[in-house]
């Protein structure tokens, strides 16, 4: 099995005009079409994999997506990715120590998340799935807030409206419709904000994602669909989800799709900025397929050794999003030892803070079960709350005796 795109991993079906042209280079180009009736546009679309920074850390240009960042901004992206990875690793460790029940690691997807996350304006709105820790970081959500649901003290501990970052959505794909509806509302308000919906290659099979494509196209809603194709939906490779490269799905719905190197933070930033700008200026939705790789397990409960080859993971390691930016920064002389050491120090401090906060995170009050079930209340909830409180109070005497009072 190669580490290349969906269409390259599967064999061509008999009679198909598709080819499985194998790439020797690690540029992840989509397969070439040899279909005689495919026009130049087809060809161009299939050839595209937007990349601005090669795995070797070399800056390259793309005709449609330019980016010109100051050393300061580049360092910022590096810092974001390093701290996000550090936080993520800390959370994995906390799960291993029993402090969290579960963790869904973003390892390997830092560029896709930081690049797209840093493309957003404050007034834009994000609808994440459950792995967007890097986007949350960009939105200013305190990383420790993300951990409550994985510890089991809540189902989402932050106020979505304080950072325009909606709660994590666990059932895959559902939030693409919420994002679309929200974008329809933005449009009705006459605002020039944009909305971004995150989802994955697995979720691309969900009907809700298809419906969100339909609704957003029909209403020309200002929403960007950001699909992180990390190649694996738990144990199922992308070819179990699709017969075409995912970005091509957009065309059938009437809006553009683009595949970007998801391990290239510059390309992810440039493409997402362009897509958001399109949305803001009334040009409707766009699909971005960030071609990346889930370096870790699906969650801490998963064992990827059962379904994927170690060589594949190794090959993707060579395309590491952080390493390539660091190589570039070093080659340009944009960072020095002192800077890198400072980031390491900051990482350590973040890790310590996360550990301390999580370990001190209290269990919720039992009666919280009955809170916020309804905004305006509900007679049955009130009745059950009272009954349960009375039931608990009935142990008060026994507790007092046990304590020797």
């Amino acid at each position: 099995m190669t580490v290349e795109g969906t269409a390259e991993r599967k064999t061509a079906r008999g009679g198909s005009k598709r080819t499985t042209a194998k790439k020797a280079t690690p540029t992840n180009k989509a397969p070439q079409s040899k279909a005689g009736n495919s026009g130049r546009a087809d060809q161009a679309e299939q050839d595209q994999l937007v990349q601005l920074l090669t795995p070797e850390g070399k800056r390259v240009e793309h005709p449609d997506y330019a980016i010109d960042l100051s050393p300061e901004e580049l360092r910022g992206l590096y810092r974001d990715m390093v701290l996000t990875r550090c936080f993520d690793a800390e959370a994995t460790t906390l799960q291993r120590q029993g402090e969290l029940g579960l963790w869904a690691s973003l390892l390997g997807q830092e560029a896709a998340q930081i690049g797209s996350g840093r493309a957003l304006r404050d007034d834009d709105y994000v609808f994440p799935t459950y792995r967007e820790h890097g986007v949350a970081w960009c939105r200013g959500v305190d990383p420790t807030n993300l951990l409550g649901m994985f510890r089991g003290v809540n189902h989402g501990g932050w106020d979505p409206n304080s950072n325009n970052f909606h709660l994590y959505t666990i059932v895959i794909g559902s939030q693409t419709l919420h994002a679309t509806g929200y974008a329809m509302g933005v449009q009705k308000d006459g605002a020039d904000s944009a909305v971004i919906a995150y989802f994955g290659d697995g979720a691309s099979s969900q009907g809700d994602v298809a419906e969100s494509f339909t609704f957003s196209a029909v209403y020309n809603a200002p929403v960007v669909f950001f699909c992180q194709n990390n190649q694996w939906a738990i144990s199922e490779p992308t070819e179990k989800q699709t017969r075409v490269p995912l970005y091509q799905r957009a065309r059938g719905f009437g809006f553009p799709g683009v595949r970007v190197d998801g391990n290239d933070v510059l390309a992810c930033l440039a493409v997402t900025k362009a897509a958001l700008e399109r949305a803001r200026t009334g040009q409707g939705p766009m699909l971005i397929e960030a071609f990346t790789y889930r370096m870790g397990a699906h969650t801490t409960s998963d064992d990827p050794t059962k379904y994927r080859a170690h060589e594949e993971t190794l090959a993707w390691e060579a395309k590491d999003p952080i390493l390539r930016l660091r190589t570039y920064l070093e080659s340009e002389g944009f960072v020095d030892e002192a800077y890198l050491a400072a980031i390491d120090e900051e990482s350590e401090a973040l890790g310590k803070r996360v550990r301390d906060v999580v370990r001190a995170m209290p269990d919720p009050d039992t009666m919280a079960i009955f809170e916020n079930v309804y905004a305006d209340g509900h007679a049955l909830v009130d009745e059950e709350r009272a009954q349960f409180a009375a039931y608990q109070a009935s142990f008060a005497d026994a507790d007092a005796i046990a304590e020797g009072n």
């Binding site: 419709l177 919420h178 509806g181 809700d208 609704f215 809170e371 079930v373 309804y374 509900h378």
Partner: protein, 327 residues
């Protein structure tokens, strides 16, 4: 405003939507064919003409999409009133309703509200094809986070919908489609009962009939016939299925000692089962007979030529009344 001596439920709902949209610019109406056509039952007739396509939205034919985008609109501060064209079409949206809409307020620890109202023409009696006559209310009442109501007359249809729209919780508003053209009185200046309060529509002393939506009229007819036979039957229009106003039912049963619950939905795991259990618990020493239920069978809704036999009608409810009185 006005007093209508005789207005249909369909027109009352239309007037209610109109009043809600006039009162609050954030109220939207969305669904399949709700715009130019005014809905397949013409319930939204003229709304798009008066409020524009931005507020009365013809949607793609995708129910999950309708509810999913309604949730998004609600998160943006709108109050969408989404129509599902027929009861049997709601299931593609069931995931969005149960998994997202019902739980989002709790998931956000109360920090977001999703005031989405879902109107569903439901229940049988109109000779329709499959999937157009179902009563799925229990499937929604079972879900914490949702409220479920069903009016039986024009005045309730008018007020309950506005109350549902004005509230901050998701509400499934079941419209008894076979009663759409039944006429009754509506005073738009009156003060409505609270949304989730049951109402005694007929007083009696021997037995209580509890029903909602399309079955209220059947139960009132039963009370009339029973009265001719010297039996005094009280009728409770529950109006709300989640929450249920058990207090009103309890008071009635403490007086009559007998309860029969009537709904079109299948009896098995239906709302009648919940009412029977609760009332047995609350009124054990007042009951002269077990709580009986009359409803649909544990079978798919039959072809329309059989629906008169399938649906609880006058005779089947009277039979249950007789059985309860025989204890």
């Amino acid at each position: 405003m006005a007093v209508f001596e005789k207005i249909t439920i369909a027109k009352a709902i239309n007037a209610s939507l109109r009043a809600s949209m006039e009162a609050d610019p954030k109220v939207l109406v969305m669904g399949e064919d709700v715009g130019k056509l005014g809905g397949v039952f013409r319930v939204t007739d003229g709304l798009q003409k008066d409020f524009g396509e931005e507020r009365v939205i013809d949607t793609p034919l995708a129910e999950s999409g309708i509810i999913g985008t309604a949730i998004g609109l609600a998160l943006r501060g709108y109050r969408p009133v989404a129509e599902i064209q027929f009861d049997g079409f709601v299931f593609p949206a069931y995931d969005q309703i149960v998994t997202q809409l019902a739980k989002m307020h709790a998931r956000a620890l109360g920090k977001v509200k999703v005031p989405v109202v879902i109107r569903i023409p439901y229940a049988g009696g109109i000779g329709a094809v499959e999937h157009h006559s179902e009563s799925p209310e229990a499937l929604f009442a079972h879900v914490a986070g949702l409220k479920v109501v069903s009016p039986s007359n024009a005045s309730d249809a008018y007020w309950m919908l506005q109350q549902a729209i004005a509230g901050d919780d998701p509400v499934i508003y079941f419209e008894p489609k076979r009663r759409y053209h039944d006429k009754s009185r509506l005073d738009t200046e009156s003060i409505p009962d609270p949304l989730h309060k049951a109402r005694i529509t007929r007083t009696g002393s021997d037995l209580t009939l509890a029903a909602y939506g399309p079955m209220v009229k059947v139960c009132e007819n039963v009370a009339n016939v029973a009265a001719e036979e010297g039996k005094s039957v009280e009728v409770v229009d529950l109006r709300s299925i989640s929450p249920i106003d058990f207090d009103t039912v309890q008071s009635s049963v403490e007086k009559t000692g007998r309860l029969v619950v009537v709904h079109e939905a299948p009896v098995f795991f239906g709302s009648g089962a919940e009412i029977a259990a609760r009332i047995t618990e609350r009124c054990f020493y007042h009951l002269e007979a077990p709580v009986l239920r009359v409803g649909g069978f544990h079978a798919p809704y039959p072809p329309s030529r059989l629906e008169d036999e399938y649906l609880p009608g006058l005779d089947r409810v009277l039979d249950a009344v007789d059985r309860a009185l025989a204890y």
